[in-house]
Amino acid sequence: MRANFIGGVLAVIAIVALIVGYSAIFTVYETRQALVVRLGEPIKVVTEPGLNFKVPLIDTVIYVDKRILDLENAAQEVIASDQKRLVVDAFARYRIIDPLRFYQTVGSIEGANSRLATLLNSALRRVLGENSATTVVRDERQVLMGRVRDQLDREAEAFGIDVVDVRIRRADLPEQNSQAVYQRMQTERQREAAEFRAQGVQRAQEIRSRADRDVTVLLAEATSQAEKTRGEGDGERNRIFADAFNKDPAFFAFYRSMQAYEAGLKANDTRFVLKPDSEFFRFFTDPTGTRPAAQAPR
């Protein structure tokens, strides 16, 4: 009985010692930092991971995340300086650098998120409102994101928070503007398509006309060449005739006249009225043929 009692007491003491000893140590994980509070008064901040000690029962430990934390912001409409509306959806990444101030001002990550979301919204409106929609979307997105980040970072310093980055995820037009954009895109494409088709017709017409022109020119050149060739032929002919006929022009005249009579006075369309005293009829009435000839028949 007695031994049992002593054993029981020892066991109780051991258990109490274990509990007290266990509550005197605490571990800080890599992802966390710890704030040690003694009866409501913060006494130290532990950022290095590992095993740490505190006064049992009196000190309490508050763990604060050390990682980069997400802040997702719901999409909201922002009016740019040129009165265009943009639906902007931004997110921020931040880190708690001063656990004490963080704990004192916002208390928890949820609290920090809601405070930061408000600040982020107003910073976004402020910065984007000073710039035109094209600047936001195209030209200086990165610069503007940097400016929002700087503003938010300055304001969040009061919460012991370091804003690592602010990024605009979406910067889109509101739904009703999107419809207008779709219509514009459609008409632009239609215009483009019409232009392509018309250009096709134009090119085709050009090619055809060019071909027609080539045809005309080819034929004209050929004709011109042909006339020249014919002229050469005719000239040559004249020369040949002249060379030959100049040997005796009088005989040529006679010879040629004979041919011309034969060709010109055709058998079926000519009727002669002759007098028997012509040269042809020299012997017709006078077998001696002494009368002088008069002239050729007419």
């Binding site: 994980y29 890599e30 094209t134 690592v164 045809v215 060449q225 042909a226 007098k275 028997p276």
Partner: protein, 393 residues
């Protein structure tokens, strides 16, 4: 990593206790996916386990000692853990990163002194943006479009529908960063991917995006993402950014297709014109050749004829020159003979100057010869006499 995986005590510790800790003999729960485990959760679960094992000793003396010893042995053995080939073990001592463990069987000091995490470092993770791939047993893999993610504004204020995938791995040289630096790596990668893609798309005009610039966009997004994630110290390596679909929005895609059709129409019209030209011009060349050849033929013909005729004339002349009067007379008479033999003739034997033919008019009513046909054997005179003139003189 649970004990039951060891195939009933096939492990090197042979007949060791078979999983008195339930399934959690290893240093800690496996991180689900690549998300680091919530350490608080881990702590709580382990405490629960301790409580179930020591429900408060009711046995006495030796029994207690044995129980404590057995407990110590089991506790000591609980430090074994296995690292799969695609994993890397990270051992924490009191929450502090102390060493890394390679794939295989490893040991860490039992909880709560040391714990181990096993992120899958070789696995390539994939994030789809603008679409979700769903495995359906009946229909196979289907792709669902997510327009609120995929529709984005371009620099020239058009809207384009972009689906893309990002592949990433945990950087082996920065596993620590991955585990301890970022709250939700997966969510962060996705958010960064979206913002980077929209930033790049927002900088360019729609036409290059739709046509040639895919490679450039992929590279630019890849670089921008990697830079941003490095700034965060996320321990994430982007291996690839892959554009899946880059289209105009469905509302206007028909108009875009029509532009393609119009381009084809343009080609077609040009080809038709070219066809016409290709047909017409050679034909004209042929005709031109015909014209010039005709002219050549005419020239040759004319010259040949002229040569022939002069040669005939010269032959006659040669003979004529030998006896001019007789030949002239003969030629005259022969011509007249031929001429008069084929024609109607009226011979009036009236004295000269006594009124001529007038008394016999009209001549047309005088009787004609009944038949014009020249008798056979007579030379067909007019065909022999070629017309020499024309435009000659």
């Amino acid at each position: 990593m649970s004990w039951s995986n060891q195939g009933g005590g096939g492990g090197p510790w042979g007949p060791g206790p078979k999983g008195p800790w339930g399934g959690g003999g290893g240093g800690g729960p496996q991180p689900s996916g690549s998300t680091p485990p919530d350490l608080e959760e881990l702590l709580r679960r382990s405490q629960d386990r301790l409580r179930t094992v020591f429900p408060g000793g009711g046995l006495g003396g030796k029994g207690i000692v044995l129980l404590v010893l057995a407990g110590l042995v089991v506790w000591g053995l609980s430090g074994f853990f296995r690292v799969q080939p695609d994993e890397l073990g990270v051992v924490l001592r009191f929450g502090k990163h102390v060493r890394e463990a390679q794939p295989g069987l490893n040991y860490h000091l039992p909880y709560p002194i040391e714990t181990a995490l096993t992120p899958k470092v070789t696995r390539v993770n994939r994030i789809d943006i603008g679409m979700r791939i769903e495995d359906d047993l009946r229909r196979g893999t289907t792709m669902r479009d997510v327009p609120q993610e995929s529709l984005m504004l371009t620099g020239d204020e058009n809207i384009v529908d972009v689906d893309f995938s990002v592949f990433w791995v945990i950087r082996t040289d920065a596993v620590r960063d991955f585990l301890f630096n970022i709250q939700q790596p997966e969510v962060t990668v996705k958010a960064v991917a979206e913002s980077a893609m929209r930033e790049i798309i927002g900088r360019s005009n729609i036409q290059p995006i739709l046509t040639g610039a895919r490679q450039n966009i992929e590279t630019a997004v890849h670089d921008l993402m990697q830079r941003t994630l490095n700034e965060y110290g996320a321990g994430v390596q982007i291996t690839q950014v892959q554009l899946q679909k880059v289209d105009p929005p469905s509302q206007v895609i028909d108009a875009f297709r029509d532009v393609q059709a119009a381009r084809a129409d343009q080609e077609r019209a040009q080809n038709e014109g070219q066809t016409y030209a290709n047909r017409v011009v050679p034909e004209a060349r042929g005709r031109a050749a015909q014209i010039t050849q005709n002219a050549e033929a005419y020239r040759e013909q004319t010259v040949a004829e002229a040569t022939g005729q002069t040669s005939r004339f010269l032959q006659i002349y040669e003979q004529y020159a030998k006896a001019p009067d007789v030949t002239r007379q003969r030629m005259y008479l022969e011509t007249m003979e031929r001429l008069l033999s084929g024609t109607d003739k009226i011979i009036l034997d009236a004295p000269t100057g006594s009124g001529g033919v007038v008394p016999y008019l009209p001549l047309n009513e005088l009787p004609r010869r009944p038949q014009q046909q020249p008798p056979a054997g007579q030379p067909a005179a007019p065909t022999q006499a070629q017309p020499l003139m024309g435009g000659t003189r």
